[in-house]
């Protein structure tokens, strides 16, 4: 404090210029949580939407819903009204409740696939990238798996298993793993040539320790971004699988199932398809926005190009 005030006292015999008018706006450093959200608006919007949807999924039972599977033949195909916010379907089930409970399936599938595919892809990618003699073989296998369009691979897997949420997650995970593995392998290949890895080898660090301490942490940033996008695409694939009858069993209300059931009537009762479709789109949008924001945050160089 004393230093600053000393600065301002004019030396004897010198007239000091009048201070410049304060025309420059003060730069407010964006610090703290609010500053972070303002800097990355897509994270703020995507994150907020996703939190709302997680809330809906967790508290689906307390948000004015009824049993989503309760059939009531006398109240079939009602249009949206005060009593039935989203209307009722052809079996008289309350669509509002079904759509809200459907959030659970989509989020569960999206999050689980993102986590499992990341772990699986990370393991395969690390091994392929670091163990030279395995690289060719493993990556050829991954390339082949990637040659099967992901939705068809999931369809084929679902055709040979019984429909259940667990199997849907497994099928989509298998279809997504090669993409993660390829990404991780690419990162590992460039990291392996870094001087600090050479240094660690020279210092006698064991291979597992090098992977764990020097390679793995550097793959996490691109992986997180990739996992977010996988989460979004897994939700779409789940809905597609359910929609064409190869996904979540029909007795579980999922958005894809609701749309599949509304398909027969969509020309006269478009709302049956509309509400789950809107929820699905908003959810995937939220996840993708979050992914874009994370990419900007974790890799500022790449964000300029996109």
């Amino acid at each position: 404090m004393t230093l600053a005030s000393d600065h301002r006292t004019p030396p004897p015999g010198l007239a000091i210029a009048t201070p410049l008018p304060d025309i420059l706006k003060k730069v407010k450093p964006r610090t703290g949580f609010v500053g972070f959200l303002r800097r990355y608006p897509t994270i703020a919007i995507g994150g907020f939407l996703l939190l709302v949807l997680i809330f809906v999924a967790v508290f689906a039972g307390y948000l004015g819903t009824v049993d989503p599977t309760a059939i009531s033949p006398s109240r079939r195909n009602r249009v949206p009204s005060e009593l039935y916010w989203f209307g009722t379907d052809m079996l008289g089930r309350d669509l509002y409740s079904r759509v809200l409970y459907g959030t659970r399936v989509s989020l569960t599938v999206g999050f689980c696939v993102a986590i499992f595919a990341s772990i699986g892809g990370l393991a395969i990618g690390l091994i392929a990238g670091y163990v030279r003699w395995l690289d060719g073989l493993v990556m050829r296998a991954m390339d082949s798996l990637m040659s099967i369009p992901p939705i068809l691979l999931a369809v084929a897997l679902m055709a040979i298993t019984r429909g259940s949420v667990g199997n849907v997650i497994l099928a989509i995970t298998v279809a997504e793993i090669p993409r993660v593995a390829r990404l991780v392998r690419g990162v590992v290949l460039s990291l392996r040539e870094q001087p600090y890895v050479d240094g660690a080898i020279a210092a006698g660090t064991r291979t597992p320790m090098i992977i764990l301490r020097h390679i793995l942490p550097n793959t996490l940033a691109p992986m997180t971004v990739q996992a977010t996008y996988i989460c979004g695409s897994a939700m779409i694939v789940e809905a597609i699988l359910s929609f064409i009858g190869a996904g979540t069993p029909p007795n579980i209300p999922s958005w894809g199932n609701i749309m599949a059931e509304g398909r027969a009537l969509w020309q006269v009762k478009p709302f049956i398809v509309f509400f789950p479709a809107a929820f699905l789109s908003v959810t995937v949008l939220a996840v993708n926005l979050l992914g874009d924001g994370l990419r900007d945050m974790l890799d500022p160089r790449a964000s300029k190009g996109h």
């Binding site: 068809l152 749309m259 993708n288």
Partner: protein, 313 residues
């Protein structure tokens, strides 16, 4: 270059062999008896036995795979469990609508998305760029069948511009063929357009920062010639790559689009096969689509050598 092309063509053989192995062994990695799984829950033991017999599931795995691979190489994909027709024949009947849809979508998507990406890169940071990129995010997020239903509701049911559903073969005239495919192609194309536009923009931004682009501008070339002749040519490789990779999206999306618009193509065949647990048909369709995908990407890899003569392998 000829050597490279030859090597590249030969390298697809192991990939396709491994795809075949994957598709074939799927049936065996599933827990439980594959014959019982295909037969479904209501099947009698006799049904299961019949399926086991017809698929040859009672022989050793490698023998089965060998015979299956041999048959597949001779364009014999087996017999459908449900219709007892050869799978190749069933696929042959359904291939035209799907190829029409995919070809139309491909052309339309490229024609729309590449200029979109170029303009976004040219006007980077302005509202034009922002709205194109916003569209791209939406294109990624709204599932293909949602777009399909929205378009069908507005343009077919409300405005009555196009037929709601169905398909007319191209032999019945170009007009009806196109009008039936406009809405499906639009809905299928959305995510693809988003993908290509995004990559085009990124690739163009990189190229536009190069010295020779500045030189071209400095010597007074028109904006259009700088963008589309000088810059786009050099930005082409990543764009062409993503067009190839995106074919997978088209294939997956076609299955759903055909369901929404009641197009009797391979997608419908797949969906019907799933509902009937007709595994040989599913196997055949997956194999065919993977083959198309590998083939397209092979062509694109060969195209690279023409687009960028610096590429040498």
């Amino acid at each position: 270059m000829l050597g490279y092309i030859l090597r590249r063509i030969l390298s697809t053989i192991p990939v396709m062999a491994m795809v075949g192995l994957f598709v074939f062994s799927l049936l065996f990695v599933a827990p439980g008896d594959p014959a019982a799984l295909i037969a479904g829950d209501q099947a009698s033991p006799a049904d299961i036995e019949r399926i086991r017999e017809s698929l040859g599931l009672n022989r050793p795995f490698l023998v089965q795979f060998g015979e299956w691979a041999w048959r597949t190489l001779h364009a014999d994909l087996g017999t459908s469990i449900f219709t007892s027709l050869p799978v190749t024949q069933m696929i042959g009947q359904r291939v035209e609508p799907t190829l029409s849809l995919m070809a139309l979508t491909l052309v339309f998507a490229i024609v729309v998305s590449v200029p979109m990406g170029v303009v976004a890169a040219w006007k980077v940071g302005t509202w034009v760029d922002r709205s194109i990129m916003t569209f791209a995010v939406f294109g990624f997020s709204v599932p293909v069948f949602v777009i399909g239903y929205m378009l069908a509701y507005v343009f077919a049911l409300r405005l009555d511009w196009f037929p709601v559903q169905g398909y007319t073969p191209i032999t019945d005239g170009l007009g009806p063929w196109i009008s039936n495919l406009v809405l499906p192609a639009l809905s299928l194309g959305c995510v693809y357009i988003a993908l290509i536009a995004r990559i085009t923009r990124a690739s163009m931004l990189e190229v536009l920062a190069q010295d020779y682009v500045r030189t071209a501008k400095a010597k007074g070339l028109g904006q259009r010639s700088v963008l589309f002749l000088h810059a786009l040519k050099n930005a082409a490789v990543p764009i062409v790559t993503v067009i190839g990779i995106g074919i997978a999206l088209l294939i997956g999306g076609a299955v759903v689009t055909e369901s929404v618009f009641a197009i009797p193509g391979l997608g419908r065949l797949t969906v019907d096969a799933i509902l009937r647990r007709d595994y040989p048909v599913i196997q055949g369709v997956v194999l065919l689509f993977s083959f198309i995908y590998v083939l397209v990407n092979l062509l694109i890899d060969i195209l690279y050598t023409f687009l960028d003569p610096r590429i040498r392998y």
